[in-house]
Amino acid sequence: MKRTSLIAFLLSLFFVAGGFAQTITLGFTVSRTGSLNVDSLEQYRGFELWRDTVNAAGGIKAGGKSYKVQFASYDDESNSKRVQQLYTRMILEDKADFLFSPYSSSLTATASIVTEQYEKIMLTTGAAEEKTYKLGNQHLYQMFAPATQYLTVALDALKAKDPKATVAFVYEDASFSVAVVTPAKAYAQQLGFNVVFTEAYAPNTTDFSAIIDKVIASKATVLLGGGHYADGSTLARQLYGHKVPLKMISLLVAPDSPQWAELGDAAVGVIVPSQWEPQSTFKAQYGPSGADFGKAYTAKYNAPPSYESAGGYASGLVLQHAIEQAGGIDTDKVAGALNSTDITTFYGRTKFSTVASEHGLQVGHAIVLAQWQKDKAGKLVKQVIWPLAGKSADLVYPIH
């Protein structure tokens, strides 16, 4: 009897220990250095907070097992060549079970070639350009609302305020910005706006003087465009320094970062199309509420979350939900669960297209517009101004 009890005890110890030993390896690169470092680091913090929260709760529970989450992560230096090498390494050497995307559409496009080749699931965040999801990929799932929505929403807001505005598009010559601006320009013309100037600039541009002179000469009253943090913040600084008489400025990505406030007066009035804002009031069916996420994030990083951070955390939540639904980490079963995902988290609705020609494209999530405004105390804050139903403040138009 004693012997049987001892064997039973040892066996149970083995299974418990086996349960603890279950881990899921998630691979991704972070642009810790290079031009994408600001946005990429914020995305990483979202991943990290989700991992810590899940592990503190005992891991992901699926099929009667608990899976602790561990990361295999490297610095891609904002460089697509590094992305190609590192995603191969994470799959072959680090044996990553699932992957998250790097930050930006162009780096993700590179990573997706590798992950698809090895038939690995990759949830993409910080990668809004649609083209990558229309190449027949079967293991790619987009968390961000597609790029076409970014500036068309800004144009809707402008139409409501000033249908006679003259519009200039000044944007980074990179895949994401081009994917945003091309449909936005057509949409502006469709709405009856006079598009008086369009120019793309090289991604490493630091001197915008010549372009700014052309914007002034065009007599544009509204400027739409930008690209990422480094160029967007420089463009905004120089627009302010040259006192360009614009009534509205809407730039991609950069103004969403809490660092934007460091621009001081140059930051005021700038609008950013956003995937998520802390004021968003989605009723979460799964995971924490927006308020709880914001509180936990601010406590850990001493800064408010950006939409890149929220996208990072939500990617983890959606993968966690799919693993739970699949009852394990088998790639085909998790892919099936992702295909049928239609959930609302603090980040909003998430649903992936299962149409063969655009498999994995995000069809549930929508863009909001936020604007940097000064509050009564003169402090710079970001306010949601569109859609009107969810606004936290009115659009300030004209800026000055």
Partner: protein
């Protein structure tokens, strides 16, 4: 004010900084027959020198040019002894490789310390507004600083004994040595001044635009164009050529996309090499 005129004024202001950057390259090339491939890295170090000094002291950046130039002189002497003095009389390829090696070391160490993320010197002077166009105070101050430094260099080269010694060594090193001039010391001083000028131009650029440790490379390329345009060993000519290059940028940018400008600049580089192999200001060597 018309857009073209405003664009040309902007070009003139930034062109003077291109000119200052090219002066250092031109001086070293003209006096020593060394193509200094550390030039871009030294411009970047000037940017970070200004960033660190401004962050530590919050003093006026144009006053901080003085310690940046002093540090550039010391660094120039060190780089000269480490990498150039050994190869000065050997084929030009040796000095090319030697300075390239130093360039790679500086970029590597700089990347390890500062990464390749962008930095800013958060300082702004009030600008001048004419009609719808505003010329920022930082651009105006940078252009004035560049011209003042260029004039001081010109005074040094033409009005001081040390400057005359540099020109003598540049003209004929053997004859200068026969006249009792220590060419070794003169070459070291010329190299140090070239590096200090590169650092000063980098410091000025840092007050205008964000920068990384890799930012010097684009100014090094522009310096080559300006040096070829001016002719070797003509530092003040380099300033004028830099201003001309800036004016050209300003004049063409209203008509073409800004991303096409490098094509025009390097087209000009080739045309000048073919039509004016000694540069538009004179002879091949000083």
């Amino acid at each position: 004010m018309s857009g073209i005129l405003a664009s040309m004024i902007d070009g003139l202001l930034i062109g003077s900084v291109y000119g200052l950057a090219a002066m250092g390259l031109s001086l070293i090339w003209g006096v020593m027959d060394v193509i200094n491939l550390t030039h871009g890295a030294m411009i970047a170090l000037g940017m970070f020198g200004m960033y660190l000094l401004f962050g530590a002291s919050a003093a006026n950046p144009y006053l901080l040019l003085i310690p940046v130039i002093a540090a550039g002189l010391v660094l120039g002497m060190i780089v000269y002894w480490l990498s150039v003095s050994w190869v000065i009389d050997r084929p030009q390829l040796m000095s090319l490789l030697s300075t390239f090696a130093v360039n790679m070391m500086v970029i590597g160490i700089g990347t390890a310390i500062w990464s390749t993320s962008p930095y800013n010197v958060n300082f702004s002077l009030p600008g001048i507004t004419v009609g719808a166009y505003t010329f920022t105070g930082n651009h105006i101050a940078a252009a004035i600083s560049a011209v003042v430094i260029a004039l001081l260099l010109e005074l040094f080269l033409y009005r001081t004994r040390a400057g005359k010694a540099i020109r003598a060594v540049a003209d004929n090193r053997d004859a200068a040595e026969l006249m009792g001039i220590s060419s070794t010391q003169v070459l070291m001083v010329a190299f140090a001044i070239g590096i200090a000028l590169a650092a000063a131009s980098g410091a000025l650029v840092s007050t205008l635009f964000p920068f990384t440790i890799l930012s010097g490379a684009s100014y090094q390329l522009k310096s080559f164009v300006v040096t070829v345009l001016a002719g070797l060993g003509k530092p003040f000519g380099a300033l004028v050529a830099g201003v001309l290059l800036g004016l050209l940028e300003g004049a063409v940018s209203p008509f073409i996309a800004v991303s096409w400008i490098p094509l025009i600049e390097f087209g000009l580089f080739v045309v000048v090499l073919i039509l004016f192999p000694r540069g538009i200001f004179g002879r091949a060597t000083a």
